[in-house]
């Protein structure tokens, strides 16, 4: 794989993670369990969207074929989206929404912190902004994990169910393959495996305070990085792409 192609794929994976998770949170806008939380989730959705846009814009530049953020975000086939599976899972109940976001934020905090030392200037700049944002995402979702875990019997049970349903999608975040490895050799990437320990510590300590425990993970699901998704993604895309597909080539 040529170096540019590696960087392009690396950026696209990261951009897709942010876009798809932002889209999922966007579905909830107006439907939060409290007005305050509605605003908070929308805030996170907006942060993720901002990160996605910066990453797509840069990916388009690297690719050098003149594709802009919208062409990259909206005009690919389902099998060409490279997001981690956890980002495309349905919102479920509020416990699932929170656990999904908590798992991702606990990964993104060290990820963006390490990315601030990337050899790539643009990635460093994106990381500097994202680091601050994602620190808030982690804080906010941790508080909810604790509240719900140590709240009522019902909220505790729902959190257990959410952890149980989602833990098998966390392994993928730490995977490497030839793209990541080439990116690491080039010096601009973060080694996800090196973040596993911190992720585990973050998760364990928050769950402990929440009187919850992380279920045995067993086999981890994977595939997103190669475009092998769950059956959910296609439905997400049918809405996401609706306007761009229906009215090709227009400005909005």
């Amino acid at each position: 794989m040529a170096e540019d192609q590696t960087l392009f794929t690396y950026l696209l994976r990261l951009a897709d993670d942010h876009l798809i998770l932002s889209q999922r949170l966007g579905e909830l806008c107006g439907y939060g369990p409290t007005l305050e939380e509605d605003l908070a989730l929308t805030n996170i959705s907006l942060d993720l969207m901002g990160q996605a846009r910066a990453l797509y814009a840069y990916a388009g530049e690297v690719e050098g074929k003149g594709r802009n953020e919208d062409q990259l975000a909206f005009l690919r086939y389902e099998r060409d989206y490279l997001n981690a599976l956890i980002t495309e899972l349905p919102n479920g109940d509020f416990a699932q929404t929170i656990v999904r976001q908590f798992f991702v934020a606990a990964f993104m905090v060290p990820f963006w912190r390490e990315m601030e030392r990337s050899s790539d200037e643009t990635l460093r700049a994106i990381a500097a902004k994202a680091s601050k944002e994602v620190a808030y995402h982690l804080r906010h979702t941790s508080e909810w994990v604790i509240r719900l875990g140590d709240g009522t019997d019902e909220s505790h049970a729902r959190m257990e169910e959410a952890l149980d349903a989602l833990v098998m999608y966390t392994g993928e975040l730490f995977e490497t393959d030839e793209v990541t490895e080439a990116a690491l050799r080039a010096g601009y990437a973060v080694d996800p495996k090196s973040l596993a320990h911190e992720w585990q510590q973050t998760v364990d300590s928050v769950l402990r305070e929440a009187t919850l425990t992380l279920p045995e993970s067993g086999h981890m699901q994977t595939g997103g990085r190669n475009g092998l998704h769950t059956e959910h993604l296609g439905h997400v895309l049918s809405e996401l792409q609706y306007m761009q597909r229906t009215y090709p080539g227009l400005n909005w």
């Binding site: 369990p33 409290t34 929308t42 719900l148 909220s155 609706y242 009215y247 227009l250």
Partner: protein, 315 residues
Amino acid sequence: EAFLAAFQERIDAEQKIEPNDPMPEGYRKTLIRQISQHAHSEIIGMQPEGNWITRAPSLRRKAALLAKIQDEGGHGLYLYSAAETLGVSREEMTEQLLSGAAKYSSIFNYPALTWADIGAIGWLVDGAAIMNQIALCRCSYGPYARAMIRICKEESFHQRQGYEILITLCNGSDEQKEMAQDALNRFWWPSLMMFGPSEGESVHSQQSMLWKIKRFSNDDLRDKFINATVPQAEFLGLKVPDPELKWDEKKQGYDHGDIDWDEFWRVVKGDGPCNRERMRTRRKVEREGAWVREAALAYAEKRAAREAAARVAAE
């Protein structure tokens, strides 16, 4: 009576009334009704626009729409807080909304069917709201007036954004122009209705004027809106769907055709295209969020108890 006269004197002197000031019960009630209705409108107003978040046609527009809806939620929050200063709780207000006892702006009972509607809602609906709200920035009740100042700033931003969506469409393909015209056709009359019917000699309205809760009549505000908006439509190259609309040189303003007040009352009374849907959605959200709110409360109580116990142990 002396109290009422003194109160009126303060109002006439353009002094702001603050939460702890004495105030007539009617003044308090009128404000609670108006502010909570305004807050509810912000909350229900999130639904038609929310309908387009997942389908917004570009990332930039999607982000702007998310931010806009978030602002509306924020406005709801300020306004609920402003109402709370008058001695009503958010729970009570929510209960009134869900039971149908409290109203919200009828415009949100119209559906957002196409992307152009998102533009039209920003341009016309927020535009009409601003006409009302600018006047309210000088409302005699301090917390409401201050909330309005902040809200107005954001609303004008939204209005410009909505108008900009339509500019883009009107500079676009034939389908896009048609989509823009269609949105104007559907949102024009309901936007005019947002100002409410002519008040005539309504006692209610006169009292609001006297108390400086309201500073302009519905018709005056509507005319101001029309005068500001028609040139904007012309700039877009769109046709306002009112064959009787024409410029009156003498009054330096537009005359407009008759508004269908039957439609207005029908929608107010619950028979608009989306009334039931909006309330059903809101009730569903409340119902599905109940366990979360209970859990948060239970946790807060546990935590407070633990802290109290820790304090006792430390003593």
